[in-house]
């Protein structure tokens, strides 16, 4: 038992670190919320990695994967977190991509996988509906076969960054009479430029526009866009959700967040001393660091299991729950730490930069919006309550 990286793994770390240093676009930093970045900013690193053949490390090599071990992928994500890199969005790379190469036909693979890998095609996820959140299988959007096409009608919601999307993957009901709701659902790829699709951005509590409502009215989609078999979509959807959860712990990024929090707590003053020296606040930081250390080792244990050939199991639900709890606590403490200057709404500052002196420290501007925004993490990807239901079933055997 040891936590050492091998010489090969350390050499790999050096290689990716120097690649990142030499190639990461200098001007692109992760903003407080994603919509403060342009679509070009959000895909810039993805496109560079696509050229390098490093954009889809976890994929099988025949589709463009790197063949890295789980440990190498872990190193890769750590090194990217070091520079706060804006990583490829998950909707193509981590979600629909694996569904297509696992369940899609050769034409679908040839048509879609290269665009996902290169970052040239933007994907969005049409899962949730106003009446179907945690109870996803109760979704009502219909796809009715009409000759060589499906006709889609319904409404999707919480569709992240759909305002920029070229393509979407949609769960639709194809058999309303199936004995169980899970049995009548199909997984269909949709060109977002098809007539009948309307995308309406939803303003979130952080003031940003990250998610959308997507209205589908008589949207005609070629039947060849069906993934796998009709009415088997739930199987593919579940497969995708399991993929989505791995890596969701966000350990490397949270480690960076803790360092930023400590920096803030060194600058903020309490009774003439840096806030970090206050026993009450220092205790909260230490608790966060300790919980994060535990999560990191749990993730490494899971990786080691994966390396030994075990697939992602209920551990991925544990990683999701604990990882998001930590991400949220980090943003809570950051808002606490900045004090008064968590209050001004930086979006109300004149856009022309006419404030010739800054209002409060820069690090304070994003504290509240980020805290507000990160409430999403325990809700998306299967809420943390749903994750507990999964563990109930898979670990407790109930």
């Amino acid at each position: 038992m040891n936590l050492e990286f091998t010489a090969e793994e350390n050499a790999f770390r050096d290689e990716v670190r120097s690649f990142i240093e030499n190639n990461y676009p200098q001007n692109i930093e992760r903003a407080a919320v994603q919509d403060d970045m342009t679509p070009e900013d959000m895909t810039a690193w993805h496109k560079i990695l696509g050229e390098k053949n490093w954009s889809v490390p976890a994929w099988p090599e025949q589709y463009g994967g790197t063949g890295w071990t789980p440990t190498q992928r872990y190193i890769w994500s750590e090194e990217n977190a070091r520079v706060n890199a804006v990583m490829p969005l998950p909707f193509g790379v981590a979600m629909v991509g694996p569904v297509i190469y696992t369940f899609g036909n050769e034409e679908q693979k040839a048509k879609h996988l290269p665009g996902i890998k290169s970052g040239n095609v933007w994907w969005c996820q049409g899962y949730s509906e106003p009446g179907a959140g945690s109870d996803l299988a109760s979704l009502k959007t219909t796809a009715v076969r009409d000759g060589d096409d499906y006709i889609l009608n319904g409404q999707k919601t919480w569709t992240t960054l759909a305002q920029h999307a070229d393509w979407g993957f949609f769960l639709c009901r194809t058999d309303p009479d199936a004995p169980k709701p899970q049995q009548g659902i199909s997984f269909i790829l949709v060109d977002m430029n098809t007539p009948g699709i309307e995308v309406r951005p939803i303003k979130l509590i952080d003031g940003g526009y990250e998610v959308n409502e997507v209205w589908l009215t008589d949207v005609r989609v070629p039947a060849e866009n069906l993934i796998g078999e009709e009415n088997k979509g739930w199987t593919y959807a579940k497969f995708l959700l399991a993929h989505e959860r791995s890596g969701i712990a966000g350990v490397a990024r949270s480690k960076r967040g803790v360092e930023q929090l400590k920096d803030i707590a060194k600058h903020e003053m309490l009774d003439g001393e840096p806030l970090i020296q206050d026993m009450g606040f220092a205790t909260k930081i230490s608790q966060l660091e300790i919980d994060l250390a535990a999560l990191e080792i749990t993730e490494l244990r899971t990786l080691a299991g994966e390396q030994a050939g075990k697939g992602p199991g209920p551990e991925s639900s544990l990683l999701k729950v604990k990882g998001t709890e930590i991400q949220q606590r980090l943003t809570e403490l950051t808002l606490e730490a900045v004090g008064h200057y968590g209050t001004p709404d930086f979006r109300s500052f004149p856009a022309d930069g006419s404030n010739d002196f800054p209002i409060g420290p820069d690090y304070a501007h994003s504290a509240a919006p980020t805290y507000f925004n990160m409430r999403k993490t325990s809700i998306y990807g299967g809420s943390n309550e749903i994750q507990r239901n999964i563990i109930t079933k898979m670990v407790l055997g109930l």
Binding site: M1, F5, M279, A282, I297, L303, K322, R388, T392, L396
Partner: protein, 379 residues
């Protein structure tokens, strides 16, 4: 990076696991702790015979070349069976002092006897006024010719009634809580001037208040350097802390399993209470807590051989996480068992009590949190 155990380590784990399962069920344990002696010298002899007391020592010290991982594996199984026998005081603590700082003669006299199970040690370090500060000592050892004379009182010395010898920390110079001036001695229980008040502990063990009144020892009773014993004591106590963390992970796993089993059996409102989501989620939280504790037990075990700062940081991180988990798992188990959880008739109460005491053993959550904060500030 590797979380696998070697073949030898797996043999240790399998051996101790079988022994605890076959010979230390809850009813047997009840008999042992209710007996006059309060422990099972026969079980201890079997541990010695199987080589378990030798597991964490190098071959030149008479062991099997193991270390902290072996201790972790043994203590996890001890935790599953709530074994009361003094592996931590005798093997981890006294054995640890001898391993790190014993002279050849001391090892010859004591370590081989510890490994053989012939001598049993207790670790007399705590004092009524000292809380978790290992240097806050009113027990004194004064130079007296070639040897030393000890006076003072040690608090809650676990396993003292079973012990033949003590490792004792004492002040040899300086003020009451100075970092310097602390030394470590080996004292036979039957030495003139040693007296004990024995009692049972709430978690099924035995302990004593130990008094030293003009106890004379020779110069070779000193382990390690005169006046500079604190770093050695900290090293050994960190090792013991990690051992008790491993014990907690074992106890938590069993506590969780018996809670789940109970919830499946117990019916209310016409259905098993395991069908209630509020209880399901609490049991999921118990699972996540002990998994996180296992991770920290691994981390701290691996870091025991690193430099002082890194070691202390990992050990305190682990003890905070494990202490918090132990409280949550223990309390949740009792709550889920309802009235049965607060009777002395079911095992869950015994697990809860042991987990509750582990929380404070070798430093509470608050103590280790403070140490973590200080180490972080110093880094």
């Amino acid at each position: 990076m590797d979380f696998n155990f070697s073949d030898e380590q797996n043999m240790v784990r399998d051996g101790i696991s079988r022994l605890v399962r076959e010979q230390y069920d809850w009813d047997t344990r009840r008999g042992i702790i209710a007996s006059d002696a309060g422990w099972s010298p026969e079980f201890w002899a079997q541990l010695a015979e199987l080589g378990m007391l030798a597991a964490p020592f190098s071959e030149e010290d008479g062991g099997f070349g193991g270390g902290a991982v072996e201790t972790m594996l043994i203590m996890e199984e001890f935790g599953k069976g709530l074994v009361v026998e003094p592996f931590i005081p005798s093997v981890v603590c006294a054995g640890g002092f001898l391993k790190h700082a014993g002279t050849a003669a001391q090892k010859e006299e004591y370590l081989s006897a510890i490994i053989a199970g012939e001598k049993v040690f207790a670790f007399a370090y705590a004092e009524p006024q000292g809380r978790y500060d290992l240097a806050n000592l009113t027990t004194t050892a004064k130079k007296d010719g070639e040897g030393y004379t000890l006076n003072g009182q040690k608090a809650v010395v676990i396993g003292a009634p079973w012990a033949s010898h003590f490792v004792v920390t004492a002040r040899t110079s300086g003020g009451q809580a100075d970092q310097n001036g602390v030394s470590v001695f080996i004292i036979a229980k039957d030495a003139a001037g040693v007296s004990l008040r024995d009692y049972a502990t709430v978690d099924g063990r035995r302990a004593s208040e130990v008094y030293f009144e003009n106890v004379s020892v020779s110069a070779d009773a000193l382990i390690g350097e005169l006046d500079n014993g604190l770093p050695l004591i900290e090293t050994v106590v960190d090792e013991a802390t990690v051992a008790v963390c491993a014990e907690a992970t074992g106890a938590m796993q069993v506590t969780h399993a018996m809670t789940l089993e109970y919830a499946k059996q117990r019916k209310q409102f016409g259905v098993p209470i395991s069908t209630f989501q509020v209880l399901q989620h609490r049991m999921v939280d118990m699972f996540m807590e002990y998994e996180q504790s296992i991770s920290m037990s691994y981390l701290a075990t691996i870091k025991l051989d690193e430099g002082e700062a890194e070691r202390k940081h990992a050990v305190s991180s682990a003890k905070v996480r494990v202490g918090q988990s132990a409280r949550f798992v223990g309390q949740s188990a009792v709550q889920t068992h309802g009235g049965m959880g607060v009777t002395d008739e079911t095992a869950v109460g015994s697990y809860f009590k042991r987990l509750s005491i582990i929380e404070g053993e070798f430093g509470s959550v608050d103590h280790h949190m403070r140490r973590h904060i200080k180490l972080t500030a110093a880094a």
